[in-house]
Amino acid sequence: MADKKDIDEVTGTDTTGHEWDGIKELNNPLPRWWLWTFYGTVVWGLAYTIAYPAWPLINSATQGVLGYSTRAEVAERIAEVDARNAEVSERLAAADLSTLAPDDPAHRFGVAGGASVFLANCSQCHGQGAAGVQAAGYPNLLDDAWLWGGTLEDIEYTVRHGIRNDTDPDARWSEMPVFGDILSDEEIAQTVEYVLAMSGQEHDAAMAEQGMVWFEEQCTACHGENGEGIRELGAPTLNDAIWLYGGDRETLTETITYSRFGVMPAWGPRLDEHEIKAVTLYLHQLGGGE
């Protein structure tokens, strides 16, 4: 800093000594209101960081004297919403779905709530739009084919107990033998042609005729004489256009040779009663409900 003050001639104010193209910066004091606002914000800032969680520590942060936490606030809000919906949730939980009228508020609540239950819990396997993933054998829930039935009651049972899981003795359970151990490759190939034939696809007629023999011997017990499937056993229909894993020659060969084993968890212990009912209603109205 220069010793002697540099005074601007016109205003008589001292300058900061900074000069640009002959224009000097005047050393005017800050307006008082501005200064006080500034001090105010400093005080506010300090108080705020004491009142609320703010200062980082090594593994955590200060908690703030008000004990505020966003997590607690969220929990509170959720509880608030739950409380507001308590009545209709209870109604839904106690309802007999097959007699619940579509314009009943509980029904609407169920369909809407079921959609979010589905997104949170089911969409990982069945897809956001519930169309399933064929390559992985996650069934499409929009079509009119059901392995275990598509009535409200059937859907609710499946959701509650799951499929082929050891945790629930009431789980739906079906199993297809590994035919690679029972039939020769040739015999399997012939069976595949027969299955192609019964579902109306291109096939080798001669092989299919031979395949019919193996089919009647090995498959009709579960899949029915004409491949119409048997719901009580969870055996899929083979004579329609819908395939769980795929209906082409290659996939069918693989399915028959190695068998398939899809699993779905039981949601009974994980979801609330009204959530199970809700997701059932939601699934039923997706287009395939019976």
Binding site: I7, E9, V10, T11, G12, T13, N28, P102, D103, H107, R108, V111, G127, Q128, G129, A131, N140, L142, D143, D144, A145, G200, T237, D240, A241, I242, L281, H284, Q285, G287
Partner: protein
Amino acid sequence: MTQSPASPPPLYAPREPIFPRRVKGTYRTLKWWIMGVTLAIYYLTPWIRWDRGPNLPDQAVLVDLAGRRFYFFWIEIWPHEFYFVAGLLIMAGLGLFLFTSALGRVWCGYTCPQTVWTDLFILVERWIEGDRNARVRLWNADWSFHKVRLRMTKFIVWFFIALATGGAWVFYFADAPTLARDLVTFDAPLVAYSTMLILTATTFVFGGFMREQVCNYMCPWPRIQAAMMDESTLTVAYRHWRGEPRGKHMKAEDADQRGDCIDCMACVNVCPAGIDIRDGQQMECITCALCIDACDEVMERIGKPRGLIDYLALSDEEAETKGAPPRPILEHVLRPRTILYTAMWSLIGVALVYALFIRSDIDLTVEPVRNPQFVTLSDGAVRNAYTLRIRNLTAEPREFRVMLTSDDILRIDVESDGAVANHVTVPANETMQARVYVTARPQDPAADAETTDLRLWVEDVETDDRAGVATIFNGKG
């Protein structure tokens, strides 16, 4: 080195109080009328009733934020028709351009709420404290019971006007009689009270104390308007070529030596902006023409022609200085610029009116379900799902039939509320959502094509009114 001044000039000059004098004349009368009409519209509109049938508000003008509707007499605007409001705003903007380019700041001078309420507040002030001279005297007088009494009376009247102003505003957003009752029983929503509080406070302060300062320091409009004015725009101006050199009126003296202005200060004393128009055009002037009235009165008294102060265009100055007579008003106003603004204004107006007449009272939107794009059914048929939103803009529930353009290739199922039916009933003034399934049989070309165009219709079962939306059908292709 120069001496530093005792204290640097402040950035903000404290307000010089202005005590406008009362004036009579054409423009003042016009201003009274405009004040009366605009204030009446503002205060009374929410109380006009309008029978729309059951379940609908019977308030003629209502902005129903919760129900997301705007009611304006027989017109009912839904959120998706907000372009009406946008259109009206554009028209308001163009109207402002038009008037400003023709007549300068007439909006400021006559219809701006700040001007109207200030005028009203000054009127009250004059009733209670007297005209200019009395008010100046009172201002300079020491505090006394008399002064306190007058001031308090004035503030109380101002307060009630301000309260009514804030109050009127909230009535546009709720049923006025119900809200009025709730307000006095303290049952009204907090937002109503806070809105009233804010508007009451701003009206009181802006109209009573800040007045022309709002125009000079807070309002951006005076700064922008210059862009719409040119030298042909009529603004309030002083014919200095006629008035100068000014001098006190003395009958005996030879008048030839002097101009017509007798320096009586009438024009300055009536000016609500506190300026002297004889100094030329000034930013503060709101073109209210009160100085014209004041000066015309003076001219009449001293037996000179009116119009020493007048609505003038800058471009006329030269000709008039040389002695040309004033040009007729119409010549000023009819210019390509104003004609263009008028044309644009009317065009939008006509378009809006047209839109109002052709708008249907059914509104349909169709949203194809994209996840998945299609579903194969067990018989090999292909099905698409669509979400329909049907708005019934009438006051009666209506039943709609949902239809397709080509029933022979595609089949339709409608599901609303989980039940399958081809009919959807939409309650009065509501939007209903329905899920529609369209199916192509396996042998139909649409099943194998990539996409097929189709059109979904809803048709009123009784009146056959219909609305249709084009969409596509996704096949396996």
